[in-house]
């Protein structure tokens, strides 16, 4: 099962907190899994993330959120994408997010979220499976 083209992913680190080591590790893992990863760096606002996702026509947006602002950031990015007609983008990511928040966000349309200490290979497999399923639906 090979995809018809590489999966395109935007990796961003919203919020004001310091380093982007985690996001960089994720970006490298996704690249090593054969994906085209647009990396936008630190301090990204939801507007910057959504604009980049639209312009880059990505399939997936991966956000690394450590600041605790996940309950506002994820829905806002999703909303901005929807406003521009991109309700087909998988918005996923990780950070220190309590399980019940994950459930709430999932109900709002956010994809699976990964807690700290998750192996990047879990995220890779999740994205690959999601993409393969979408390609099957389109075919």
């Amino acid at each position: 099962m090979t995809a018809s083209r590489p999966i395109r992913v935007l990796v961003a680190k919203p919020g004001l907190d310091g380093h982007d080591r985690g996001a960089k590790v994720v970006a490298a893992a996704l690249r090593d899994a054969g994906m085209e990863v647009v990396y936008t760096g630190l301090h990204q606002t939801p507007e910057m993330i959504a604009t980049a996702a639209i312009q880059e026509d990505v399939d997936v947006v991966g956000l690394s959120i450590l600041s605790g602002a996940h309950m506002t950031l994820f829905p806002r990015v999703l909303q901005l994408l929807h406003e521009q007609g991109r309700d087909d983008v998988l918005v996923t990511g990780g950070g220190i997010i309590p399980q019940e928040d994950m459930n709430t966000l999932h109900r709002q349309g956010v994809g699976k979220l990964f807690g700290p200490g998750t192996s990047t290979s879990d995220l890779v497999r999740y994205i690959q499976d999601w993409f393969a399923q979408r390609e099957r639906q389109e075919a």
Partner: protein, 364 residues
């Protein structure tokens, strides 16, 4: 990401309504050479021809993206819009790519008059320059005044990409001095403007002086950046490489263009007005010498050749009767009764109507 006719009509309507998501999707279809890509490009062709195309290339980390962001900012302050294509290499081992050029373009990223797209080379030799040219066409058709294409000047295919622009800026840094002998082979050939970036570091003026000497040595009748010496990928014509006579545009020295060598600090914007001026001069030069028209014609010629190549191949090898006929000739070639060359000639002769698109004689 294919586009059936109805879907592609909707996409074109959204594109005409200037929806960024539609622009982005059209570029994806063109990049993937997906179904409907030829139809989309044909539909957009009439709207092209307005944008000035500028290539920016140079060694890794020279400050290309930072410079592109500064150029875009300067164009925006003149009221011009800009589309940017930033190309990064695909890993030969994994097929993946890390596209990081946007980081340096943050300052202009939210401007609605700016569009930035990151592309991976996808290991497509030659195909990359064709795809990039088509994507530049799409940005042109969308209405951008300037289209800037950033590529790392390392491999041949990246240099080919730079060649598809009207004007090509080669960015070096003071530390490039040692590598100048190897650089001059590839990068110097394609430079219309040279920029020694990171001039806040020692050695910039020295490199600038060295480059100027090198260019003076080169600038004889041999030198002359016109479309015929640049081409657009496919050289079908064998046109003379001599520049047209009498091009006295501002900044041009005599009848041939000698690339100016500038210094810049992209990090703080120093040298950007001079770079803009040099690009304007080069454009004026191209207009005055007819080089611009020649470049556009070279692009059109190359485009027709590409489309014809693809179409002929598809018609011939997509035809079941043809492949069956070829199968039937294998034994005769194997036994030495005939040769592959005779069979090829026979095959072309019997395929006249097929290649002309008049359908096949044999009922399916």
């Amino acid at each position: 990401m294919s586009a059936a006719p109805a879907a592609s009509d909707r996409l074109l309507a959204d594109f005409a309504a200037r929806k960024p998501a539609a622009l982005a999707r059209v570029i994806s279809i063109v990049e993937n050479r997906g179904a409907g890509s030829a139809r989309l490009l044909a539909a957009l062709h009439g709207a092209t021809g307005h944008a000035r195309r500028i290539g920016i290339t140079g060694p890794p980390g020279a400050g290309k993206s930072t410079l592109v962001a500064q150029l875009v900012r300067a164009y925006r302050s003149r009221g011009l819009t800009a589309g940017v294509v930033a190309v990064d290499p695909t890993s030969a081992f994994t097929g993946g790519a890390l596209l990081g050029d946007r980081i340096r373009m943050e300052a202009v990223a939210l401007d609605p008059g700016v569009y930035i797209r990151s592309l991976a080379t996808r290991g497509a030799l030659g195909g990359l320059s064709a795809a990039t040219r088509e994507i530049a066409d799409v940005l042109d058709a969308y209405g951008f005044d300037r289209v800037l294409v950033e590529t790392v000047g390392v491999g041949q295919s990246e240099l080919e990409v730079a060649r598809t622009a009207d004007s090509c800026v080669v960015v070096l840094v003071p530390e490039s001095g040692d590598a100048i002998q190897t650089l001059k082979a590839g990068l110097m050939e394609i430079a219309d403007v040279l920029v020694v970036n990171k001039a806040d570091r020692p050695g910039a003026d020295r490199l600038r002086a060295e480059l100027k000497v090198m260019l003076q040595v080169r600038s004889g009748p041999r030198r002359g950046q016109t479309a015929s010496s640049r081409g657009a990928g496919t050289d079908l014509s064998g046109e003379p490489a001599d520049p047209p006579e009498g091009g006295g545009a501002e900044g041009a020295h005599g009848s041939s263009w000698v690339p100016p060598v500038l210094t810049a600090v992209a990090a703080d914007g120093t040298g950007i007005p001079e770079l803009l001026g040099a690009l304007d001069s080069h454009h004026d030069y191209l207009v005055a010498t007819g080089g611009l028209a020649e470049q556009r014609q070279a692009r059109l010629r190359a485009r027709v050749a590409e489309v014809v190549d693809l179409e002929l191949r598809a018609r011939l090898w997509g035809d079941a009767a043809t492949t069956a006929w070829l199968e039937g000739r294998l034994a005769a070639m194997d036994s030495g009764e005939t040769t592959p060359f005779d069979v090829a000639r026979e095959l072309l002769k019997r395929s006249g109507r097929l290649l002309a698109g008049e359908g096949d004689d044999a009922p399916r």
